[in-house]
Symmetry: C2
Subunit: 460 residues, 2 copies
């Protein structure tokens, strides 16, 4: 390891300050976040060295196409297309993986860890798919695998869950972790914009992809839910086990109606302990946690209701801490690069002192079946406006043991829209209700289904 050598010894003409260690960074991926990181290290290098005693030198950068023009000026001499070579390079002390996706990112990360190089990554797909295997690899090599930037952008989430709350029995983590959908929902709620127009707007602002599915169907949020659940409960929960509903079914009328009732509609990622036996081992949690993504009605008194536009926030509840909320920018090059830099500093300090962060992850567990959950629901249904429809529809709720708290009819003429609020009911019963409703002649469309979140304690 050449960490303590001066930069001159590497053949670079730049004096180093005594007491400042040079850390040679191999950067894999130079897109939005990678470019912002490169720029940040250029611009703030002196300040970072003064504050932390570390001078970061990006010595190799892997990109898919060396000749492509990029907004950040990276010297051609350090560009390469061979990502795997960076994981093996003798002149790289720490690997920063910002290419995203499963392969070849996975191979690069594993190879780097095997070569005893700490890895900093923002790769939510990778971390949410095989957390335990990757942590084990890092533990075997005794180096860090840090991933603060994989969820919540600049918001410190991974570190607080991993360290500050290491002794805490976390009961629920509930977050707005996808800025695109939160932007869409805010525009629908505050400005009366239709779902389709809000999506277009998010696309034109660069928040949403041309194909917005990953965001609006909740895939992105589900990956982050898996990461948060794994950290909160200390047992591996995979993205593929996260139950998921998106926001594409929502209409502006639903969001407006929720607002009139005192609620904001938010797409929530939720990881929650079940009501089963409360044992301390991660194994005991198998089948006894719920990890899910769905739109919900959040009462305006809840701190999450005030999280607007592209912001993210995660609300954490624990036996001793009560309620915490961590709020900030969940995406974007600069904020995400800031989170990567925080990890880079940590990993480098640990490398210099020969230690690494602790992260114990138990065996993979499965969340409880979603059908077992209870909650109050909001359901909107488009029906033919003819006599007896309401009685028929209400009867279907009753047949499935779903008790109606209130009903409202909107619209006039041939068609009408019925909006139901239910008392707390079982998810499976609600699903059966919707299925039976959809089969009725008089029902034209089953629209939005929202879970209604309870009020939060006043914590006074």
């Amino acid at each position: 390891m050449a960490l303590r050598e001066t930069v001159e010894a590497e053949g670079v003409v730049q004096a180093t300050t005594p007491g400042v260690a040079v850390v040679r960074v191999g950067l894999v991926g130079a897109g939005n976040v990678g470019g912002a990181l490169f720029e940040l290290l250029e611009r703030e290098g002196d300040a970072v060295a003064a504050r932390t005693g570390l001078r970061f030198q990006v010595v190799r950068v892997a990109v898919s196409d060396v000749s492509r023009a990029r907004p950040v000026d990276i010297p051609a001499s350090i560009l390469t297309t061979d990502a795997l070579a960076i994981a093996c390079a003798e002149d790289v002390d720490v690997v920063v993986e910002l290419m995203g996706g499963l392969e070849p990112a996975r191979s690069v990360v594993i190879q780097a860890l095997r070569n005893h190089k700490p890895v900093v990554t923002a790769n939510k797909e990778l971390i949410s798919s095989e957390a335990a295997a990757l942590y084990a690899e890092a533990a075997r090599s005794g180096v860090d695998l840090l991933f603060e930037a994989s969820v919540g952008g600049a918001i410190p989430l991974v570190r607080p869950l991993r360290e500050s709350l290491a002794g805490e029995r976390v009961t629920r983590v509930m977050g707005i972790v996808n800025g695109t959908t939160n932007y869409i929902l805010t525009r629908m709620s505050e400005d009366g914009v239709s779902y389709a127009d809000a999506v277009k707007e998010a696309q034109s602002l660069g928040f949403a992809e041309r194909d917005p599915t990953a965001d609006v169907a909740g895939h992105d949020a589900a990956a982050k839910a898996a990461i948060l659940a794994t950290l909160a409960f200390g047992a591996e929960i995979s993205q593929s086990d996260v139950w998921r509903e998106g926001i594409a079914n929502l209409r502006q009328e639903d969001v407006a109606h929720a607002a009139r009732l005192g609620y904001e509609v938010k797409l929530l990622a939720i990881a929650e302990r079940g009501t089963g036996p409360s044992e301390s081992s991660p194994e005991a949690l198998d089948g006894n946690v719920s990890v899910r993504v769905h739109p919900a009605m959040v009462p305006r008194s809840h701190p999450l209701a005030a999280v607007r536009r592209a912001h993210n926030a995660v609300f954490i509840e624990g036996d001793s801490v009560g309620e915490l909320m961590l709020y900030g920018r969940g995406a974007g090059g600069a904020p995400t690069a800031a989170a990567v830099l925080g990890d880079l500093i940590d990993a480098s300090h640990n490398l210099l002192s020969g230690t690494c962060s602790r992260l114990a992850v138990g065996p993979r567990i499965s969340p409880q079946p979603a059908g077992e959950l209870w909650s109050a629901f909001y359901v909107s249904i488009d029906v033919m406006d003819r006599p007896g429809v309401l009685a028929t529809v209400a009867g279907v709720f009753g047949e499935h043991d779903v008790s109606i708290r209130s009903m409202e009819q909107m619209g006039l003429g041939e068609e009408a829209r019925l909006v139901f609020l239910t008392h707390s009911a079982k998810e499976a019963n609600m699903a059966e209700t919707l299925e039976s409703l959809a089969a009725l002649d008089s029902v034209k469309r089953v629209g939005a289904l929202l879970r209604v979140l309870g009020e939060v304690g006043d914590g006074a």
Copy 2:
């Protein structure tokens, strides 16, 4: 160090799990927080051991009176009145200082560090008075001095500022860090309760002391402002250099008037970079940061406005991260004990691996004089209701270069209350204005002075 011995070797009849290290804790202070920590370790000991590989054993507890009855059942055999002996005891691995105040806490902490025992403390007076000297002592001994619980109770603040944001140029930290005053202000704003009644209520609920001065005059918030400023800027800022105004001058009418204008009145602790040269060294910050505590009008669109009752929150702004907010319970036995436990786990892991947390604190710097600051103001003045008063009063503003944005008259009869909102003006000019106003015959009382906070960006 006996960390890896089993508990049996210490003569205690309890089997240990393989791979679990026993950490012997010396607890100094068994009041509200100390008692909660003792209870938490008893109740959650197994779970903490399963999650972290550490079993905490409280082996000595220093209290002021051994014979006093306490809500938590601590074996008489481990109670002592000799706090300093705990800092020297061979059978103590880590010292937790929860007695508060400067002495003898200071001597205990220094002695423990000199004996290479990591120290976890919640002592805001101590940390805000001589941060640099204490950090230097810890660095010399190569052990941790951790103080997450000294500000913001259960909210992870110290760790994110110290670690996650180590590479960030923080421009402003702005917090609601005193739950008592926030409870009082919330009651005044939401429920029309008078200041005096809200204080009495806070006292009866156990939030406020019999003498509420430390809270309402802003002393508590000032200590926390000093700690936050020191962490944010990497240079020592002492509590005694924090400029401070409390809330005792506020009337319910002021809070209600602010609410009508779309603002919530909050007591804010603010640490902010000045507009001077933006250099990276801590020395360059001397005279170029502002650290202060005062009530302010926070626009309802700002996340801090939604922080109600006894909750705390700290809003952090930085060049790369944009805006972050960390929110939670700022006080209380259980939440504060949870923060102490997080530190205890960290300090113990570091002790086992022979490392310690990094904390570089530059030399002590002085904040810029408060008079140099600019802001918009809200001023309320009780005057005799006779012809010409308004012109006279308005003239005084003009004489001191304070430009009035709006004026409203409230009340009828002999007396009237004038409420002014100004354009941005210099603090020194505003102070002179108030002095001149107070000297006028027609002015009966200069009431509340509030700084008006600007809107926050939408971060979209």
